[in-house]
């Protein structure tokens, strides 16, 4: 009997540390589970990232991430409460605990990470200053814009970027400044300028307001610095940050591994690829280690789609914006999107 007790105790001692590692302790995740819904801080309205369709349903790239996190936790992408936050209050609302995660086309920066005490789990969209020009202008690259006039919004780094670019390349791109996007769109459409510039997503939005969007094209180059946009979580809850991070990687991994909404059942039934099997919960405890069940990756791909599919439906042709993938393409196709290894 004594020997049995010692054996059991010994076994517990050996198992205990291993268990302690798999036990996910996250106050945010616990609160979300108890509440029964995720509270997602989103933009109050911006094409591509977060907007309401004509039925009042939230759509967009950031929304897809909110839905994916809820899907991983609850098995239902609908269990999200959206709180629209303006750029002024977004971080304080996150810090106050009113929202669980902020996914609001917000740039990942040094100060936000350090001084504001926020974690930056994953970049979900890379953008930079992009140009859109009339096809009839016959320009294929930014450096050919010498002498052209570009409409843009005033009071941003867009102007200084162009001035710097002019100086560096010894050319002259003329600018026509506006206060409101609508005015600038109208001026471009009316032919007062040859092109329009803003960050990639906004330029795509501008193009879709033109009378003949097909007459306009995006130039492949961008100027100014790269702006990585993505999710934010409160610091001090690593397990929660991890979940948010790996939800993003699961979506990218889906595209990398060639699993999407359309073929998921087929892949799940037949795949022998270890990485894919782990993503879809056929092997390993990859969900449990994050504090959700092992089918989380499968559900995300099935209900939301992989990153490429989400991009197509929001910024791509299906979303009506027609913005080329560019930097948001997979690393294997010249973009910046990648996933860490799944083992």
């Amino acid at each position: 009997m004594l020997r049995l007790c010692i054996a059991v105790l010994g076994a517990l001692l050996i198992v205990a540390p291993a268990r302690a590692q798999t036990e996910v302790k996250s106050p945010t995740l616990d609160a979300v589970k108890k509440r029964g819904e995720l509270i997602c801080g989103i933009d109050t309205g911006i094409p591509g990232y977060a907007y309401q369709d004509s039925k009042g349903e939230w759509q967009g790239l950031d929304i897809a991430y909110c839905r994916a996190i809820a899907d991983a936790i609850f098995g239902s992408p609908a269990k999200v409460k959206y709180i629209g936050v303006t750029s002024k209050v977004r971080f304080s609302v996150l810090q106050s605990g009113e929202i669980d995660v902020l996914i609001r086309d917000s740039e990942h920066t040094f100060i936000r990470n350090t001084q504001l005490g926020l974690d930056e789990p994953a970049d979900n969209f890379y953008t930079a200053q992009t140009f859109m020009v009339r096809k009839s202008l016959g320009v294929a690259h930014t450096k050919d814009l010498n002498g052209a006039t570009i409409c843009l919004l005033t009071g941003t780094t867009l102007e200084t970027n162009i001035a710097d670019y002019n100086r560096a390349n010894n050319i002259k791109i003329n600018t026509l400044l506006f206060d409101k996007p609508e005015e600038a769109f109208a001026a471009a459409d009316a032919g007062r300028c040859d092109g329009y510039t803003d960050d990639g997503g906004s330029v795509a939005a501008a193009r879709s307001t033109m009378k003949q969007p097909g007459d306009w094209m995006f130039l492949p180059e961008t100027i100014g610095g790269l702006q990585p946009l993505g999710s934010f979580t409160r610091m001090g809850d690593e397990a929660w940050t991890r979940l948010v991070k790996w939800v993003h990687y699961a979506m990218v991994a889906g595209e990398v591994f060639g699993v999407g909404k359309a073929n998921i059942e087929q892949v799940k039934a037949s795949t022998n690829d270890p990485d894919t099997r782990r993503l879809l919960g056929l092997e390993g405890d990859f969900g449990k280690l994050l504090g959700v069940d092992n089918n989380w990756g499968y559900r995300i791909i099935k209900d939301i789609g992989n990153y490429g599919e989400v991009y197509d439906a929001t910024f791509g042709d299906k979303g009506g914006l027609g913005l080329p993938r560019g930097m948001n393409n997979l690393y294997s196709k010249g973009g910046l999107m990648f996933t860490p290894s799944w083992h």
Binding site: A31, T44, G45, I46, P47, G48, Y51, Q52, D53, S54, K55, G56, Q59, K81, Y82, I83, G84, V85, T86, K88, V89, S92, V93, Q95, S96, G97, E98, E182, F185, A205, S208, T209, M210, G319, G320, L321
Partner: protein, 369 residues
């Protein structure tokens, strides 16, 4: 201008020989529009301006506008694309409230009208009974209907409330909360008790000295930081509380203006009859003071109704918020003009109705005196 011509019109009427309606119109036009060289010039200028603005406006808004269809591709004309408004109309009125539960909002609207009509109508007996109904039973019923969660009604979170409905809810709560609070503050400010007087004055000066935007930001951002972990108050409730507290200060000043307009003798006379202070205020001073304060109160109400659009800055989508939201839908980008014109029209109709009622009430009150 209306006051200036009022005197003239009296003399006109006295000297006027009744003629045919046509002659009367010509006479009215001659006197009012072409009475002097300046008036003639102004009339011609206004007509010229109208001729300049109206035809393109009508062409844009009516003759070349599109109303049919369901997608952007249907808007082929050069004019406005009202299809955009039509497709989104439920969103502009109900926000993201579940469509199958629209009847709940409709029912609340009907109840509101049913309670308001007796309160606002002329010479209503037992008006006070209706006022109490409007301030107690109606809000309780409306809260049950809109929120749900009991009596088999589905729970509808306030994040789904929006559109014009939200403007009305916020405006109603703000008026219903700030007017009584404002009256108390106004009485407090005139009180003989130094502590009550100082507190009331401090309150009024504090809230009047802070911009509304700041107050809303504090309610949205700072209040959750002060609350203990795990406790959260709905952000719509926080915003409404902020609006009530803020507008109470303005209401107090408007009511105080009315109180000062009541002759001091009234109060003294009531005191000599042996009435208690509260009775003096409630039955002698306030009825007269509120009558004087009506234009100011209506003015404040119109003002705060428009201020309800400010809730968009803290992420609540009222009518204006819903319109701005609609402008961001990639399927419907580029219809800002239509969206803002629609919002402006709705707000104008609502505010004009309020001020028209206010004017008729003023006329009635001055006639009664």
């Amino acid at each position: 201008m209306s006051e200036a011509t009022a005197g003239q019109r009296l003399t006109v009427r006295r000297n006027f020989e009744p003629g045919t309606p046509g002659a009367r119109i010509i006479e009215w036009t001659r006197r009012n529009l072409f009475g002097s060289a300046l008036n003639t010039l102004l009339t011609i200028l206004v007509l010229a301006l109208a001729a300049l603005i109206l035809p393109p406006l009508i062409r844009w808004g009516v003759t070349q506008a599109t109303l049919h269809g369901t997608t952007r591709a249907d808007c082929t004309g050069d004019g406005a694309c009202w299809t955009f408004i039509r497709v989104r109309l439920p969103l502009f009125f109900y926000g993201r409230y579940p469509p199958s539960d629209y009847w709940r909002v409709d029912l609340v609207a009907i109840l509101l009208v049913a309670c308001c009509v007796p309160v606002l109508r002329e010479r209503m007996t037992h008006r006070w009974l209706w006022v109490i109904l409007l301030l107690t039973l109606f809000p309780a019923l409306a809260a049950v209907l809109l929120w749900g969660g009991i009596f088999g009604l589905d729970y509808v979170d306030t994040t789904l409330w929006g559109g014009l409905m939200l403007d009305f809810i916020v405006a109603f709560v703000t008026v219903a909360g700030s007017l009584p609070l404002g009256i108390l503050l106004a009485l407090g400010r005139r009180s003989q008790l130094p502590i009550v007087r100082t507190l009331s004055m401090g309150y009024i000066e504090l809230w009047r000295g802070v911009p509304l935007l700041t107050v809303l930001f504090i309610s949205a951002v700072l209040v959750p930081l002060f609350l203990p972990q795990g406790v959260s108050v709905d952000r719509l409730l926080r915003a409404m509380a902020a609006l009530v507290l803020f507008n109470a200060a303005y209401m107090a000043e408007v009511v105080r203006g009315g109180l000062q307009g009541v002759d001091h003798g009234q109060e003294e006379a009531a005191h000599t009859l042996g009435l208690h202070w509260w009775h003096v205020q409630a039955f002698v001073v306030l009825p007269q003071a509120l009558r004087i304060a009506v234009p100011g109160i209506i003015n404040t109400v119109v003002d705060l109704f428009k201020d309800t659009t400010l809730v968009t800055i803290i992420g609540l989508f009222d009518l204006l918020g819903a319109v701005e939201q609609a402008l961001k839908d990639p399927a419907w980008l580029g219809f800002a003009k239509e969206g803002y014109a629609f919002a402006a029209l709705i707000f104008f109709v609502c505010c004009y109705a309020m001020s028209a009622y206010g004017r008729s009430m003023e006329r009635r009150l001055s006639r009664d005196q």
